[in-house]
Symmetry: C2
Subunit: 224 residues, 2 copies
Amino acid sequence: MSQTRGRGRRADALSKDVVVRAAVDLLDEHGERGFTFKLLTERLQTGAGAVYWHVANKDELVLLATDKVIGDALAALRPEPGADAETRLRTLLLTMYDALDQHFWAAPHVVAGSAMPNAMLLLERVGSLIAETALPARRHFAAATALFLYLVGVTAQDSAHAKTVEPGVSRDELLGQEAARWAALDPATFPFVTRVAAELGDHSDRDQFITGVDLFLDGLRAHG
Amino acid sequence: MSQTRGRGRRADALSKDVVVRAAVDLLDEHGERGFTFKLLTERLQTGAGAVYWHVANKDELVLLATDKVIGDALAALRPEPGADAETRLRTLLLTMYDALDQHFWAAPHVVAGSAMPNAMLLLERVGSLIAETALPARRHFAAATALFLYLVGVTAQDSAHAKTVEPGVSRDELLGQEAARWAALDPATFPFVTRVAAELGDHSDRDQFITGVDLFLDGLRAHG
DNA sequence: GAGGCAATGGAACGTCATTCCAGAAGGGGG
DNA sequence: CCCCCTTCTGGAATGACGTTCCATTGCCTC
């Protein structure tokens, strides 16, 4: 009888970090729906038990993967010597937008809490930059969390669109179809939506995000 | 032999609306995780096949339930005679905030697309009210979607917190614990977070939401 | 009152996360 | 050098779940 169970410690040791890295890759490839432990154990050439030794359960794994995405994006951020706080804030937010756009499964899981150290660090950066502006200190907390929530909310929403994209259908195509559906609505009940339907067709989520950020920053300035 | 299968049409007929209503109730009671077809068929005193006759699958059911929550909240909204557009916009957003806060499972599923008629109607209302302000028409689309995304993003984030609340632990308690954890961080790497930790303890998500909305509206006014 | 269509309910199926356990490196003490 | 114990591994087993399938039934029309 060959004993196929329990082959002991391996040379290319498994570790929490290796597992999380594989999870990020698989989430990128298959999305959250398609991400299963079967896929994960196949990629890692191991069994479920080995994975569960390093990670409590799937939820924790997705959480760790999400935090890793944020951490990597923050690590890749280059300092901008001489730039003012507002410029650096814009750069920070756009960098995070791009990261969460690329790893489209992550945004809904981002929470600024002690369970996600890197998300915490992100909030810290946003807050520090806002504190550098001339805004009254009383508003710093509200402004920082509002911007943080706006970032996460927008990317979560954008990725909800991305999720429905099926292979073979381009994003632009889908947006065009949706714009057409908006335009086809009854102008009596939907005066606004039908009017702006055209803008939906050729808009960029990224541009729209930064427009929202600017509105926010304008509001901050107006308050100061 | 007793034939227990297929008892034909019932007097208290099932219908899409009945199914969706039951889904909303069960989602409220058990959250998205605890919401299963077993629970649903038990509550409706029927089998899985009957439910699937009215609804394509679980995803569609959750989507319909989400849209119903928005629809009900919009329907309950009372007109405010004599109030200006900005006031009415604030009321609209707060009403929706409360609805999404109550049905904490819904926010992550809200998407402004033709698949969710009532979400569409919500965007329409937001857009119409913004169009009533003196803002240049060029900005209406961006402003309306930004506010819409902010609403959905904030409620989704808040409900992520609510989800982790276990029976027996109050929300305030949990917030206090998190605030303590923030305060305990290293002030060298987290100068901002440690400084505002106290504010987290006694803050209201709802107040913070409306503060964010105000910042937005200030920004809009500054632009005009 | 026959025939067809709209609904129904539950058995059966496949997939998935998670648990359980028998076992195998590696290291330290004898 | 050998035993033992901790750390780690792989896969079989389990149970819950979404979904499909289908025999069966009541209502409606002709």
